[in-house]
Structures are given as structure tokens and as C-alpha cells.
Amino acid sequence: MKTRGALVVGVAVIGLGVLLGGLRVNPYVYFAGYVVLQYVVIATAWNVLGGYAGYVNFGTPAFFALGAYTSIFLIEAFKAPLPVLIVCGGLVAALLGLGIGYLTLRLKGVFFSIATFALSVVLQTLIINWEYVGGAKGYTLIRPPAPFFRSWGVLLFTLMVVLAVVTVLVARTIERSWIGRGLAALRDNEEAAECMGVPTLRLKLFATTLSGFFLGVAGAPFPYYVTYVEPSSAFDLNYAVNALAMPMIGGTTTWLGPVIGAVLLGTAQQVATVTISSELNLLIVGVVLVLFVVLAPEGITGLVRRLRRR
């Protein structure tokens, strides 16, 4: 599929999203859809670093929350509009991404993962003690009536469709460019890649920054979605687990994997929340994870590829 084809598909998906927003379907679709699409963005963004470059980021909540709290800060300080929030949320998280990029100079493998986890704890403590954005008490956002759309549900849903499409298209473009090949080379063997003249540091910095950017973007509209943000839910461990699990289930080597994983696991979780109201929800995540990594180690895309080859 050529890039133009992908663009056409992307525009078509956005069109479909807008159409769905225009149709008077049940408003619950928008809320559930928002969450699933948010995970598409998160999983795809995580995968740019985790899947393509092989650096496992445990600090997803830090980036997500940074996006959300950048929004809160800008709303509180300047009453900034939503598009500004998204760009700024992404940029601030991208800066943090650049920071962890330099960590990769010294830290590989699990060490890197643990450092990102530690980063998340430190950042959470900072936010807890920063009263301006609500601190430990949390921040309540009073939403004005939704501009241009008939409700916030539709607006946020449409926005997330656009963000998800953009993120996926960017990830796909990277995957197919020399950058993607370079990242794959350093994932397989960093020293060898370095020797072959792959600019590993620059590539890694690029990957961490871009991944951070989109994770921040995913978090930026969050205050408008929940209207109440407090540190322990913004830094929820679930984001770290889902960011890791969704690409693993879908397959980490292609852009399609995280999308499939996020849609499947995200939808399953949404359905489970409103059908089986108990611990079973978490249990499903656990069992699905274990079953998948044991039985379909390449994820769904890998499984399909293997079946087709037969």
C-alpha cells in the first residue's frame, strides 16, 4: 500500500468518525469510543519506542499525565483553547521524551524500563505537591458548552479519531522510512547497528521524543473527558500495562499491531466494565495477556502472517 493510499484510508476513517459524530447514535458510543481511540494513540506511540526500537517504557503514565497536567496548567493560567492544549501537552511530554532519550546512552534493556518507572514516581510526587494544578486534592474543570459540536462527547470522540489517525499515519510513515529500518537494526543489535554507521543516538532520541509527544497528546484532552483529574488516576499503572499489553497482543513490529491490540483489548475492557461488574475485568486482562504471550508470541499480526504463509 502506497503512502497516498494510506492517506486516503486515513481521511476515510476520519470521515467515518465525523459521520458517526453526526449520526444521532447512542451517546455512549462516543464515550466508549473515546477511550478505545485514546488507547490506539497510546499503544501506537508506545510502540514507536518499544516495538520499533526495542526500548520498553514503563513510564507511560508519566507522559500521559504530563499531557493532562500541561492542559490543566494552561487552562488555569491562560484559559487556552483545546488545540493549543494538545500541541503544548505533546511538546512538554516530548521534552521529557528527549530527556529519557539521553538516558538510553547509558541504560539498556530492563535498566531503562526501571528508570522510566522511577521517573513516573518522581513526577507524580511533584504533581502531588503542586497546588496550582490541584495537587493531591485534584483539579475540577468546569466545561463550557461544547463549541461547534452538539456535546462534549461528540467533540472529544471526533478529536480522538483525528488524533488516532494522525498518530497511526506518522507511525506507519516512520516504519517504512530509513528511520524505521535504522530503529529495527538497533533493536536487533545496537552495537552492530552502530558499527554499520546507523546514527543510533539520533535515532533513539527521535524515537523517544516522538513517542513522548504522542503519549502527551493522548493525555492532553483527558481533563475535558473526566472533568476531574487527580494524580493517582492520571498516573494510573493501568496506562503502563495497557501501553505494553496492547502492542504485544497485536504485534509489535508493524503499525497495525498496536491498533488491533488497542481496539480488541480496549473494547473488551469497555464491554467488561459495563457487563460483568466485578474483579473479572482485571482477570480477563491477566488471562488474555498470559495466553497471548504463551500461545501467540508474535501477536495477532504475527499469527495471521504465519497462517497466510501456510
Binding site: G50, V110, A118, L237, A245, M248, G286, V287, V290
Partner: protein
């Protein structure tokens, strides 16, 4: 407000806490440090051990730490079983790192949910004669609730380092992490050695769970508070160094305690992780890394 008395007390409290942290981290030091198995579900096994202690304590009035010791064989077997699954699903195929991680994440959730389905989500505590009592040594108060776990933690550290340095299997475990081929030539089966080591790691987790519930109340999701701490300690101490793990535990314990006593506890956790980040940036192999 600062007094020398306060400082002495803070340091002692930190050391006591460090001894307990060492107990919780030892298993990870073994499985992650020496076997390269990223068992992120380790804290979940700790909580499982804590619930074992709770159940025996509330139904039979058994001492939590005695329960912890009595249950070690069972957890050893559990650990060995988990490793077998892990080995046949990941290690043998050579795809352990990332997928293994997800596997253990899944395991963590399963244990958490299983516990809350069986025992509910109330805070669980144990009763023992020494809880709530303390002694005073020259102005330094020592709570038995923290002293006992610390002593047990130190004993566990000692036992593990003796095992690793003095016994055949222990040396074989050290060998596994360094040179598997040489180990095979010696006639030892690496998989078997690793199974033993992993079993010991989980047994240590269960015993430290008994210590945990002696110190503070436990719910099934308490494990999440320990994921960061445990791996921070192991990395800070230097992978696979049992002594290093103890030192790192005490550093973290004392740092937390000093912060809490002298500057206000609000930042104590961030300081611990700040130390870790700094240590990683300066010396990625940890304090006593191999």
C-alpha cells in the same frame, strides 16, 4: 527541629526498614540479578505470602513469621512450577525479555484478582505478641514490629549468600549467570539449576510477605507499591549482588526515614527514586554490579 537524638532514631528506623526491604528484594536479586528473569510479579507473590500468614493467623492464631517459614516449601514448589512454564514458553524459544515481562504482568493481575475474589478487599492485619511493643536503647526506641522483620531479613540475606557461596547448587546458580556452557560441562543442567533458584526466589517472596503483613495492613493491590521499590533496590545494589541488595535496601530505608523525620515525609519516596535515577545515570551497573 533537629536534635542528635532525632537523627539517631531516624537512622535506626531507616536501618530497620532497610532490613525489611532487603527481605522483599532478595528474591528479585536472585531471579532478576542472576537468572535474568524479569519477574515483575514478585511483589504479587509477596502479597500471596502475606495472605497465607493472615489466613493462618486469623484461623489458627499462628505467628505470621512462623507461617512464613512453614509455607516456604509450598511457595518453592509454586515458584519452580512458574519457572517451568516460563522456560518452556519463552526461554527455550529465546524470546524471553519483552514477552516474559508481559507474562509476569499477567500473572500479577491474576494473583491480585484471585486474592480479592477469595478474601475480599478489606485491609488485612495480623496479631502477634510483639506488635505494638518496643524497647528503648539509650534514647533510641526500637519497635519489635520492625525489628523482627529486619532481623529475619538479615538472616535471609545471610542464608542466601551462604547458599550461593558455599553449596554446590549455590555455586551452580552463580555459574548459570556467567557461563552456561561451562556449567553443562560440569554435568549440571542449567534449567534444573534455574528452576531451583527461581523456587528459592519465590519462597523468599512469600516469607517477606509474612514480614510485610507484620509491619502494615495489606490488600490484594498492595503489591503495586512495591514494584518500583523492589526493582530500584535490586538495580541500585548491582544485579545479582546479595550484599549489594542489602546495602541498597538500607540506603533507601535510611533516606526515606531521614527525609520523613527531618524534612517532612512528603518527598521521601521521590528522594528514593531520585537516588535511583542518579545512580543509574552515573553508574548503570549499580553499586556492587558484576
Amino acid at each position: 527541629m533537629f536534635t542528635w537524638d532525632l537523627l539517631a532514631n531516624a537512622v535506626v528506623a531507616g536501618i530497620l526498614l532497610g532490613g525489611f526491604y532487603a527481605a522483599v528484594s532478595l528474591g528479585v536479586s536472585l531471579t532478576f540479578g542472576l537468572l535474568d528473569v524479569v519477574n515483575i510479579a514478585h511483589p504479587a507473590f509477596v502479597i500471596l505470602g502475606a495472605y497465607a500468614a493472615y489466613v493462618m493467623n486469623s484461623s489458627f492464631g499462628l505467628d505470621p513469621i512462623l507461617t512464613g517459614v512453614l509455607f516456604t516449601p509450598l511457595f518453592y514448589a509454586l515458584g519452580a512450577g512458574v519457572y517451568r512454564i516460563y522456560y518452556s514458553s519463552f526461554e527455550r524459544r529465546g524470546e524471553e525479555s519483552l514477552r516474559g515481562l508481559v507474562f509476569f504482568f499477567g500473572l500479577l493481575f491474576i494473583i491480585e484478582v484471585a486474592l480479592s475474589l477469595k478474601y475480599g478487599v478489606d485491609y488485612r492485619l495480623v496479631e502477634a505478641a510483639y506488635i505494638g511493643k518496643s524497647i528503648d536503647l539509650g534514647g533510641v526506641g526500637i519497635a519489635f514490629r520492625l525489628l523482627v522483620p529486619c532481623v529475619v531479613g538479615l538472616l535471609m540475606t545471610l542464608a542466601l549468600s551462604l547458599f550461593l557461596s558455599r553449596t554446590f547448587y549455590g555455586r551452580a546458580v552463580m555459574g548459570v549467570s556467567q557461563d552456561q556452557v561451562a556449567l553443562r560441562l560440569m554435568g549440571a543442567n542449567p534449567v534444573r539449576i534455574k528452576t531451583i533458584a527461581f523456587g528459592i526466589g519465590i519462597a523468599a517472596a512469600s516469607l517477606s510477605g509474612a514480614l510485610l503483613i507484620t509491619i502494615s495492613p495489606v490488600v490484594p493491590s498492595t503489591d503495586r507499591d512495591y514494584i518500583g521499590r523492589v526493582f530500584a533496590i535490586t538495580v541500585l545494589g548491582g544485579l545479582g549482588s546479595v550484599g549489594g541488595t542489602l546495602v541498597a535496601s538500607i540506603i533507601l530505608g535510611v533516606a526515606e526515614s531521614l527525609m520523613a523525620t527531618l524534612f517532612g515525609p512528603s518527598w521521601s519516596l521521590a528522594v528514593s527514586f531520585g537516588i535511583l535515577l542518579l545512580a543509574l545515570a552515573v553508574r548503570p551497573a549499580g553499586l556492587f554490579g558484576r
